[in-house]
């Protein structure tokens, strides 16, 4: 019991604005408020064509509900503080960065190249150093998936420097 009190005491000594519960609640409320603002820009249906409620009413109600529930969660969290999460390791940020690399490469260069690059980055930074395995995971496996989707599912991948070579 003493430990619990100690833990709560530690959390109370933290600045209110740096508690994860505050940051998470603030992010949800800010995003919901921005979306709520957008609902006021939706077209309004003339009463004669309107069926039940305006198209903006339902999303507005949902966003207000989300904001109200988030505030409630925050006030509850003042009584029962959320545990402070551990710092995220570098491998997480590298994986996240590899998503950005994938988006840029797949948009401007090639879809297949994007997958290959992401695979090699993730695999390498997660600890794989064997070249054979890196080639397998970044080239051979995506190639199998690519050919499978292309031939069996009849999928046409977006054009790119490597994909164009395949399609001739």
């Amino acid at each position: 019991m003493n430990d619990v009190h100690k833990e709560k005491g530690t959390n109370k000594s933290l600045s209110l604005f740096f508690k994860s519960s505050f940051i998470v609640s603030a992010v949800i409320i800010v995003i919901s408020s921005i979306l709520l603002y957008f609902t006021f820009t939706f077209d309004i249906v003339p009463p004669i064509l309107n069926r039940g409620i305006q198209p903006a009413t339902f999303p507005k109600a949902l966003l207000i509900l989300i904001i109200a529930l988030t505030l409630l969660t925050y006030f509850i969290s003042l009584k029962n503080p959320w545990k402070n999460e551990k710092k995220l390791p570098n491998s997480f940020y590298i994986t996240l960065l590899s998503f950005v690399v994938f988006i840029i490469v797949s948009k401007f260069l090639d879809f297949f190249l994007g997958i290959a690059l992401l695979s090699i980055i993730v695999s390498y930074f997660w600890g794989e150093r064997r070249v054979t395995y890196l080639i397998m995971v970044s080239i051979i496996f995506p190639l199998i998936v690519f050919v499978f989707f292309e031939t069996i599912l009849g999928l046409r991948f977006p054009p790119g420097i490597i994909t164009n070579l395949y399609y001739g």
């Binding site: 994860s20 949800i28 979306l35 957008f38 609902t39 939706f42 077209d43 249906v45 064509l49 069926r51 039940g52 409620i53 198209p55 903006a56 339902f58 999303p59 949902l62 966003l63 509900l65 989300i66 529930l69 988030t70 409630l72 969660t73 959320w82 999460e85 390791p89 491998s91 997480f92 590298i94 994986t95 996240l96 998503f99 994938f102 988006i103 797949s106 948009k107 879809f111 997958i115 992401l118 695979s119 090699i120 993730v122 695999s123 997660w126 600890g127 794989e128 395995y133 995971v137 970044s138 496996f141 995506p142 998936v145 690519f146 989707f149 599912l153 999928l155 046409r156 991948f157 977006p158």
Partner: protein
């Protein structure tokens, strides 16, 4: 009842038997791999099912569901890490028993109790789903609205984690369903001038993102995790003495699992925890629980597999998913153009009874494959994450792109992956988002149509007895966590 004979139809279709066989193997592999499981695996396989006819596609998904739920027990017992969340309670006694050198006995009991629970739940499904579907004939738009609200509140109160956070997640899921052209007036909502968004956000990018990509990000934080593996010689059938000790527990947990599964909630995970707790409560030796009790394994495993059939009841009869995996199966039904509900029972009984029969066969198949192949499946956990997850990424990206051949879908998948990761990190379950997304159109559509019927008078909802019952049940469901907390506080 005249359609019962159709249950055996899959036995005479070599195509369905092949689909079942591969679905069961795939389900076992997914169940064994921590972080994957039948929900994520089902989401990954969804785009591939487009090459199959609707029945084969759903049979494949249900086989993955049944086998994957059982597969989670293998890793729970051998490496103390549940392959699926539903197997978390199995770790409590499975791993200690395995550490005592009885891994084969623990897996044998898990296999037998899973099969009994699974088959019992399919029997519940066969008899209960048509009854529920018949009841649904009485439902109009207001009743469906009230039912959807009840489904969401049940999910919030019974599901894992904070009920308020579950409600926020559910509301977020419904909000995603409002993106695109309004289906009643064709007015754009949240499209931000992006043409691809006028058709709305598809199920696949959200499902794959929230389950597979967010899990990939979670795994990126766990790359230094080390598993302590217990050696397995062979799976052993439980002895007569084991059966004597556990038969009551298996029957009780099968009943609990089927009942919990029918409720629109988190299915197997909740069922196994309650099944385990009840097994302990009724046991003559509750002090053995947590130290390798065979009853503990039976209680948890019978319950989580019993939830599979139970969760299919509201999914097929009402179109309200009973668990996370059935939400994926429901997505599969929708993308194949099959609308669950009473009409499905009347118009396509061969389709439904084909699913029922396939679930029975899947339970028998995973018994055989699990019994003789558990040792091989356990070796799959040796595939390192640094190789596995890049491969899953490639499949996720191609699968998501394949449905509409849209790069925007792939970006949305990544976005929802990141959202899903942070949701999980801060205690929000991603399951209510999926269920909210699936039910979103139903909630909004039935609300607006009801208001048209009622001429804008909201109080008219209270004059419909069935709708009123669901609203009262929703209130009870919402107050349930408060009562639980008060009881806990009183105890302290």
């Amino acid at each position: 009842m005249e359609n019962l004979g159709l249950i055996f139809a899959p036995l005479f279709s070599y195509k369905l038997l092949i689909v079942l066989f591969f679905g069961t193997i795939f389900g076992l592999i997914l169940g064994v791999l921590p972080g994957l499981g039948p929900t994520t695996g089902g989401a990954l396989i969804l785009p591939f099912t487009m090459t199959l006819d609707p029945l084969s596609a759903i049979v494949l998904l249900t086989a993955i569901y049944c086998a994957g739920t059982y597969g989670g027990a293998i890793t729970a017992i051998l490496i103390n890490t549940p392959g699926t969340p539903a197997a978390a309670a199995t770790c409590l006694d499975g791993y200690p028993l395995a550490q005592k050198g009885e891994a084969g006995r623990a897996l044998g009991m898990a296999t037998v109790s899973s099969v009994i629970g699974g088959i019992a739940s399919v029997v519940v499904l066969i008899f209960f789903a048509p009854l529920l579907a018949n009841l649904a004939y009485e439902f109009g738009q207001p009743e469906y609205f009230a039912l959807a609200i009840f489904g969401l509140t049940m999910l919030a109160s019974i599901g894992e984690g904070s009920p308020i956070k579950n409600l926020i997640a559910g509301a977020f899921g419904i909000l995603i369903s409002t993106v695109g052209k309004d289906f009643m007036t064709s007015i754009d909502r949240f499209t931000f001038g992006i043409n691809e968004l006028t058709e709305g956000i598809g199920f696949i990018p959200v499902v794959v993102g929230l389950f597979a990509i967010s899990e990939m990000l979670t795994q990126s934080t766990l790359i230094n995790q080390i598993f302590n593996r217990v050696a397995l010689k062979a799976v052993k059938l439980p002895s007569i003495d084991d059966y004597k000790k556990t038969w009551k527990t298996i029957i009780r947990s099968s009943g609990i699992g089927s009942f919990i599964g029918v409720l629109p909630a988190e299915g197997g995970t909740v069922a196994s925890l309650i099944g385990y707790a009840e097994a302990k409560r009724w046991s003559k030796k509750p002090e053995d629980f947590g130290k390798g009790s065979i009853e503990g394994i039976a209680g948890a495993e019978a319950a989580n597999n019993a939830a599979t059939g139970g969760a299919m009841v509201p999914t097929l009869a009402l179109g309200i998913p009973g668990s996370a995996t059935t939400a994926v199966i429901l997505t599969g039904l929708i993308i194949h153009g099959v609308r669950p509900g009473p009409d499905l029972f009347r118009e396509q009984p061969e389709f439904l009874y084909g699913i029922f029969g396939s679930m029975l066969i899947a339970n028998i198949l995973f018994f055989v494959l699990g019994f003789f192949g558990a040792k091989i499946f356990a070796r799959i956990t040796l595939v390192p994450n640094k190789l596995l997850w890049p491969m899953i990424f490639a499949v996720s990206v191609c699968g998501t792109y394949s449905l509409n051949q849209s790069i925007i879908d792939v970006w949305l998948m990544l976005l929802f992956g990141v959202i899903g990761f942070f949701m999980r990190r801060y205690g929000f379950s991603v399951v209510p988002v999926i269920i909210g997304l699936i039910l979103g159109e139903l909630v909004e559509g039935t609300l607006r149509q009801s208001l048209v019927i009622f001429d804008g008078n909201w109080l008219m909802f209270l004059q419909r007895p069935i709708a009123l019952t669901f609203f009262v049940l929703s209130l009870i469901a919402l107050s349930f966590p408060l009562i639980k907390r008060k009881k806990k506080n009183d105890k302290v």
